[in-house]
């Protein structure tokens, strides 16, 4: 076997890993879209906000310190304590639940029954709002997540496989962070599925996703369910924010990961959790392989961004509702 063949496999493996990271972001979109028909553009900013909050809480940063200092002329920045990681994660989740409650209470409750594009627009407003609040609360410098996540290539795997493809092959490279992300994503998806299948709230959530009015008529509180899905989306956002933030530091650009999730959604369907995962994997592998085989050697590289969308577009032409989306039935 030639080294190129093994490198191809390596690209596929890394594509799968990248796909998991895309799927993590896409998952948050799917949860909200399924339950309420809202295409939540703010998901990326939620990931940023959640990660910022986590870092801020852990390091004992004073929220809105810059604003407070500017108004009152004080010089406060830190509380001077460090919160242990688990407690900080818990506190961050509380913040995300509170955020979900606010979003429901102040925005989407008033927009029930509006057209999808209006709801979409409202989430864009929300994205702006949250971005501004995040910046005001925690400042706009780049922060480092100190959760002790492993980073770097897996040396063991590299050495174990280095003999495969001759002298030009250096063994498979897999980032340990990606492995962790995959495990976390697996746990997350399994627990979401278990939650949706076997708990009362989970069933209620599925009922709402199926038919709002029928769910309402059997006594399910729509309000509660919507707060619930926004909270779950907040949880997913936190995980995505931490995983992406571990690579680049927590910074503004984190909100742009939403753009990486959109082709995944198109491909997998807006309403399917397995679709998000499979879509993520296909996009991850597809774009990496295209860059490896065609993009970098022939087109000058940097093709991944648009190729992901092109790939999804081609899929859609054959299946307009995405791979796993609900069949669109139209009646006159």
């Amino acid at each position: 076997m030639s080294a190129d063949f093994f490198y191809g496999i390596e690209v596929v493996i890394n594509g799968l890993m990248a796909g998991v990271l895309y799927a993590l972001v896409a998952l948050g979109f799917v949860l909200i879209f399924k339950a309420s028909g809202i295409f939540n553009y703010a998901q990326g900013v939620m990931a940023l906000f959640a990660a910022l909050t986590l870092v801020g809480v852990m390091e004992g940063q004073v929220p809105f310190s810059h604003l407070i200092n500017a108004i009152f002329g004080t010089e406060i920045h830190h509380f001077g304590w460090h919160v242990p990681a688990l407690l900080a994660i818990f506190l961050t989740l509380l913040v995300m639940v509170f955020f979900a409650w606010c979003v429901q209470k102040f925005v989407f409750r008033h927009l029930v029954g509006q057209e999808p594009i209006i709801l979409f627009m409202a989430t864009i407003g929300l994205a702006y709002f949250l971005e501004g609040v995040g910046d005001l609360m925690w400042g706009s410098d780049i922060k480092t997540i100190a959760l002790g996540l492993p980073q770097g290539g897996s040396l063991w795997l590299e050495q174990a496989t280095s003999g495969l493809g001759g002298d030009d092959f250096y063994g498979f490279f897999i980032d340990k962070l990606d492995i962790v992300a995959t495990l976390v994503a697996a746990v997350l998806v399994i627990s979401l599925i278990v939650f949706a299948q076997y708990t009362k709230q989970g069933r209620a959530m599925r009922a709402v996703a199926d038919d709002h009015q029928a769910a309402l008529s059997v006594g399910i509180s729509l309000n509660f369910i919507w707060v619930l899905v926004w909270s779950l989306a907040g949880l997913v956002a936190l995980v995505a924010g931490v995983m992406w933030g571990a690579k680049s530091g927590v910074q503004f650009s984190l909100s742009l990961i939403a753009l990486k999730a959109l082709p995944v959604l198109m491909l997998g369907g807006f309403t399917s959790i397995p679709g998000a995962i499979v879509g993520g994997l296909i996009i991850g592998v597809g774009e990496k392989l295209f860059e490896f085989l065609i993009g970098a050697p022939f087109l000058g590289g940097a093709t991944e961004n648009w190729f992901a969308y092109m790939l999804a577009l081609v899929f859609l032409v054959f299946r307009p509702q995405g791979l796993f989306g609900e069949r669109i039935i139209e009646r006159v």
Binding site: L111, M121, A122, L126, T303, L316
Partner: protein, 358 residues
Amino acid sequence: MFYREAGDFKTSYEADNQTFPIAFDRYRYWAVLAVAYLVIPFIINDYWANAIFVPFLIYAIAAIGLNILVGYCGQVSLGTGGFMAVGAYACYKLMTAFPDVNIVLHVILAGGITAIVGAAFGLPSLRIKGFYLAVATLAAQFFLVWLFNKVEWFYNYSASGQINAPERFVAGVPVTGANTAPWAQYLICLVFLTVCAIVARNLTRGTLGRTWMAIRDMDIAAEIIGVNPLRAKLSAFAVSSFFIGVSGALFFAVYLGAVEVGEAFGIQKSFLVLFMIIIGGLGSIFGSFAGAAFLVVLPVALKVIGVDLLGWPTDIVSHLQLVIVGALIMFFLIKEPHGLAQLWRLAKEKLRLWPFPY
């Protein structure tokens, strides 16, 4: 009292078919035109031209274009930035390849080229609908930006990768380049906007506009009554892209003078123009103006209030600006999901009775 539909009797078909059949609308229209053409050019300065009016006029053209596609034909598109880039680069290539041809012609041709590209990227709309289509148009956005960045021919192999608008004249007055007077910049954009708006208004109340609206409201039903969806959708994409291309060309040549594709025509631009039409009102030409004005003026106004009047630190003001713009968008949608245009309609209702309500 002031706004009356009744009592305005038409005695000829011509009068009945005019663009603004209601007297008040007509007077308003002429009044706005008079102010725009006869007052503003004489008092405009560099700041007002470059910070407010020229961007407003150009974005209004783009918003009208996108509104035709989204508001009238119901095809959500997020490729606006990419199509504006097509307009800009087409204009640049034409300007440098045929320096003797009038710039106005170049801008129109740039619009035409964009229309062809837009129609090509509109093809998937025959299969894909709703948000799926919106995301699919992002493929156009990312691909076009990548293309203009990659292929050096588009920027004439310049080492900087930027395109610069050379100086061009209309009737002996420079309209592009550094020596352009603010009123010239303003007027050329205004003329284009006026023509575009009149064309758009008449298109949307003619046969073509009605087929678009039929497709928007229910495409299957429209097909059954004999609307050809292929023609309707592609014509909407083409016409919409034409306007967007014109605005892209003006954005590059008249407003900025030098652009780099990723920075000027990135995905943010697509979202910005979409915000404009949703805030302004889908399916309304007036809404396109209102939305463009809202999103051009509001940030500047907030900055002037925060920094210049209150003297706050610039970073806090610009964070607050995000918070306020976001909150206002949500507030407007809750109060009036149909945009500023609907507020205007309500205001007209009020005007009809004022000052003698029931």
